[in-house]
Amino acid sequence: MRILIVEDDPTLADGLTRSLQQSGYAVDCAVNGEQASSMLRDGVYDLAILDLGLPRLDGIEVLRRLRQQGGRTPVLILTARDAVESRVQGLDMGADDYMIKPFSLIELEARIRALIRRGQLGSNIPLSCGRLTFDPSARRAYIENRALELSAREIGVLEVLMLRQGKVVNKEQIMEALCNWDEDLGDNAIEVYIHRLRKKLECSGVRIRTLRGLGYLLEAHHGE
């Protein structure tokens, strides 16, 4: 995994580089917008972490050029501008996520993992969470190496939750994922699938949490 950090503040750039290297990523650093723009052109990065207030070329402009040239590198914006307009502008320009400075490294790393996962969506790389593995190409789930008996719809629900693990998935999103299949699905139907999945995922080190009124969330859990 290769990550490009575009940040002009040396202390922050240094901290980010070291910690991401520690987590096993290959990291390059650009200190201004023009440099970043040319480094991104070749599409060798799996992710770019982009500061907005950059010398020479503004971060928004870097992003705009990247997307204009058809670059699909996932971009996470880091900004000290907390006016929400600029966040929205960044997302409209094709950023995949944003964080406001100051931020916690733990959260940044979680988001990086999620973005990289999303980048691999089409690539059919197996997804894992706790002791659970999901193979998108075979559409099968395993606990350690034991295959789970799941219906097609249960697989569909599990796939959405796995792709967005650690994030809330609402019922509409689950329904959308299942809509290839068929007829109407009621709210209750989804609750039933979730209930069944929970039973089958016992002892997998993974649990599905219900967030009242918001949706479901898949997370690894330890102990208990």
Binding site: D82, V84, V168, R209, L211, R212, G213, L214, L217, E219
Partner: protein, 465 residues
């Protein structure tokens, strides 16, 4: 002030003149009429005497009226220092026997033996005339002869002028005197204001003490009271601001001092465990400081003095509140708090600024998560009640004592022994946003008497206008 059209002095003078000038004019007309009357009264009698003297000279000879006027008598009659005198004697048949034929007859002839005074014109001059009807009984003629004497008005006019002058001069003097008095009185009356002006001009901009009211005229007192009231509010607002700055600097310096101490200590330390501990402390201080800075900025943004205008628009509260809840799921999970969302209708619209409303709800949820112990519950509800939309955040925390429920909205006010690491600005931000939206916020116990329920009421679009 004197050059201003709204000058008190000028206004008073104008009103006074508006009153006195018509009076003066009426007085002038009256004086003129009176003067004429009295001067006529004085000179008419001598005119009549002349007419009688002339009548004495009228004789009747063989039924014909004749007048025998020696030149001397004529001279005497016609002689006057100031005026021209004319006469005319007409017999009963209306034939002029002697004198000026151009002298007009009176419009109402006098009764026999009687006389009338009248004004007429003669040779282009205005004259005063008397006509005396001389009875001819006891003579060979019948009827009456008419004896007219007229004189120009020179001495009458002179007398009238004197009378008018004598009457008008004092009136004019009174008007002038009144004007002068008003001018002087206003200046004197405004003197206290002038003293006030000087007092204010000499004041330091830091001096917000009340202006003394002694010696001020009663009319100025309300103004003074209003000013002192404003001063009082300014003093309070400045004191509040100073308290805020003092609090803010205390709140910022404390974690900064902690940071510095821990960093210096870590640099000196060799034991990895202790370095680790120092780093943990540094991180905790940094988190607190970042939270404080972003809260201070948020507060500055939503304060009325920020000069930012509200971008009013119609917003559906349901997706807005849901999305803010989503933003807090990670925090809730980390604290093992069951965060839930409920909406009683699929769509509840209000009039407001979406960014501010998000900020407001985020602070309420953040607060609830901060002060609710692990395994507690936080529920966000959007509901509609008659003509209001309500946004409620309820938690199962330790609750807020009733006596604290208004103070919690003050800046940097934190409940005594409250857990958590809030900076005491969240609810101040919430209050500013609620005020900007003309909404209301209430604090009460949660269901079953536990925890806290904060409810914000906002107008629906139709009612908000």
């Amino acid at each position: 002030m004197a050059n201003d059209s709204r000058s008190l002095r000028r206004q008073l003078l104008l009103w006074l003149l508006a009153l006195l000038v018509p009076l003066l004019l009426a007085g002038a007309v009256g004086s003129y009429l009176l003067a004429n009357h009295f001067s006529n009264l004085a000179y008419d009698r001598s005119l009549f005497r002349a007419a009688l003297a002339l009548a004495d000279q009228v004789e009747v000879l063989q039924g014909r009226v004749v007048v025998d006027l020696p030149q001397k008598a004529l001279d005497l009659l016609e002689y006057d220092k100031d005026d021209w005198i004319y006469y005319r004697i007409t017999d009963p048949q209306g034939i002029t026997v002697a004198g000026e034929t151009g002298l007009a007859l009176p419009s109402h002839p006098p009764k026999p033996g009687g006389h009338v005074y009248y004004d007429t014109q003669l040779a282009g001059k205005s004259v005063r005339a008397v006509a005396f009807a001389l009875p001819l009984e006891g003579t060979s003629a019948r009827g009456q002869a008419l004896v007219q004497v007229a004189e120009t008005r020179a001495k009458r006019d002179l007398l009238a002028e004197e009378i008018i002058l004598a009457m008008m001069l004092p009136q004019l003097l009174i008007v002038l005197l009144a004007g002068a008095l008003v001018h002087f009185g206003v200046s004197r009356g405004l003197a206290p204001l002038e003293r006030l002006r000087q007092a204010f001009a000499q004041r330091s901009h830091r001096d917000l003490s009340a202006v003394p009211c002694e010696g001020a005229p009663r009319e100025v007192l309300p103004l003074l009271h209003a000013m002192n009231d404003l001063m009082q509010r300014l003093r309070e607002s400045i004191a509040q601001q100073q308290r805020f700055i003092a609090d803010a600097s205390h709140q910022m310096r404390t974690p900064l001092a902690g940071l510095q101490t821990q960093a210096e200590m870590a640099l000196r330390e060799n034991d990895p465990a202790r370095i680790q501990h120092a780093l943990e402390r540094i991180r905790a201080s940094t988190v607190r400081l970042s939270h404080l800075v972003s809260q201070l900025l948020a507060l500055a943004r939503v304060e009325p003095s920020s000069g930012k205008e509200i971008h009013w628009q119609t917003i559906d509260l349901v997706p807005l509140a849901r999305s803010v809840c989503m933003d807090h799921v990670a925090d809730a999970l980390a604290k093992q708090i069951d965060l839930g969302f409920e909406a009683t209708l699929p769509k509840i619209e209000v009039q407001g600024d979406p960014l501010m409303l998000r900020e407001m709800l985020a602070n309420l949820i953040d607060n609830a998560l901060r002060y609710t112990p692990a395994r507690g519950k936080v529920t966000v509800t959007v509901l509609q009640d008659n003509d209001q939309a309500m946004l409620a955040v309820e938690d199962t925390g330790s609750g807020i004592p009733p006596e604290e429920r208004t103070r919690i909205f003050e800046r940097f006010h934190r409940l005594a022994d409250s857990p958590g690491d809030g900076c005491g600005l969240g609810l101040a931000i919430v209050r500013e946003i609620v005020l900007a939206h003309q909404g209301e916020i209430t604090v009460e116990h949660g269901k079953e008497g536990r925890g806290t329920r904060m409810t914000i009421r906002l107008s629906l679009p139709a009612a908000a206008g």
